[in-house]
Amino acid sequence: MTSTSTPLLDLHTDVLVIGGGLAGTWAAVAAARQGSRVILVDKGFCGTSGVTATAGPGHWWVPPDPQIRASAIEKRLATAYGLADSRFMARALDTTWNSLPAIADYYAFPQDEHGVTQYRGLRGPEYMRGMRRLVQDSGVTILDQSPALQLLRDAHGAVAGASGWRRQAGGNWQVKASAVVVATGGCGFLSRLLGSHTNTGDGYLMAVEAGAELSGMEFSNYYGIAAAGSSMSRSMVYTFGDYYDASDRQLPFQQGPDFTGQLARALLEGPVYCRLGRVPQDIRQQLPTIQPNLMLPFDRHGIDPYQQRFPVTLHAEGTIRGVGGLRIVDDDCQTTVAGLFAAGDASSREPIAGATSGGGAQNSAWALSSGQWAGRGAALLAQTRGASQGSLHGFTEVGIQPSTSRSATDIAQLIKRIQAEVHPLDKNLFRSGNQLSSSLQALDSIWDQLRDAPPNIEDNPLRARELLAMAATARWCYHAAEQRRESRGMHQRSDTPQQSAAFDAHLRVGGLDSVWSRHDHLKTPLTHGALA
């Protein structure tokens, strides 16, 4: 891809946003609102890429009554186990509450039967289609089908843009920018989770190459239910499900926080079947216009899910509904690298979620809020910093420079080997120190193999970077999980089943060839017992 004959689209801007999902679009809008010139690049298409576009995001939606807000925050702090920040929660609630009504020209918020406008939950495809229009109307330049492959630095070593591939138009792109927002989503390791195959951790890789730190990567083992063989990980109707094993015995799952754990334990024993017989008749009629994609797998395979039992599975969500991501160090969501901002699932959601996934509602509120904070922060920094001078250079050559060509089969095998460590329930959901160490060995060996002979596919420079990003992300997740020798929130280890005051700390990780970690202890010690 560095061949001199390859055409280069060479652009200059104030703020570059990498990723056009929920966080990236909000970031671009907020940066443009400050008067900055903004370019947004998306791996796929801004409007369909990422996990929001295929889902139906509710938002953490709490009216601005001080008592109601305080109690919502208190409730979330109870499952954050010391790792969240009530001030950030209050900021996210406020930003979300003020932002959604302001996009009424771009999303037709429906009214309920009492004529009350409903802002909290939006349909993903329409939300992201509207956000694309808002981004365009804000004067932002969008480059679709233009994955970023690496960040670029100026002569002083500061982040000064990025470069990538125009996979449909042909050739490469380079954007020189005074500030960069990474909004590339989380990493689900190509798990078949709906809409997640654009989210391969590319932003983590690029940012860590530039020297950034990650945080909370041990909290990356969320799983979501779907009909087996389907990508339709929309969980709502499954709260009405009755579940059976292979010999038609009903499984006594309780709905609630441990539902996934119960289902996972049963799936480790054998297939699990579901029947949605308890969905009320009126809701069955309404479902196609509530979640229009929900019934597609059933209708198309001739299954009546209300009468017939069908097998179910759990799709790994990695850091998507998991918490971990790039560590942000200030209210503007700047990373530890000056000029580099992170938002949405690309950033660590610990400030509002702590040690437990906040679920979809908190995640959407975080994407919307952190996106706007990062976009505004990047715009303000760009204004004070001015345009960077001189030529730009990459931070790395791994997977960038032409090298040993590997076949598509080789690449597929390497991806399977990574998935074999991070997807299985008995390795990632149900953790133990021994298993984590043995997975880390396997992942280190994959990394060394990739490092010695970086993969390269002639007609697809992105695949090599995605593969590196997934291998690196898997190592960061398990390194952090191995280092946190206790159980806290969603990180539960059978060898260390108790929460321990020694780990009242944020776990930072980083590094590529050599992964490092550091415990940043909480400033205020937790009162143990009260929170657990």
Partner: protein, 120 residues
Amino acid sequence: MIELIFTDLCNGCGKCVEVCPTNALALTEQAVPTIRDQSTCQTCFMCELYCASDALYVDPDCEQPRPLDPQTIRDSGLLGQYRRDSGWDEWAADPRYTNQHWRMDGIFALARNTPPPAKP
């Protein structure tokens, strides 16, 4: 995965190629969409939603290709199902397809309060 493109229904607008998040489709020189790389399809149905001609069909099996009989699918009434139920384009004014997504909160609450049936 994406299985079928009905070229007689396609108007050659190229939208499906443009919007595919994983670049699974490509336009031929004759502006006809083709499946460029089925293995990258993530079974998200976005191409169907954006196809105003209802000329594509995605099978819900996300793990392996499923050879399908185009005529059976054509006759099934499933083409355009997602776009219609979403109330897009010509369906926008049809009251049968009004967005009822806001009901999700009530449904979750109902599910929490619906007791499971007595054990068999």
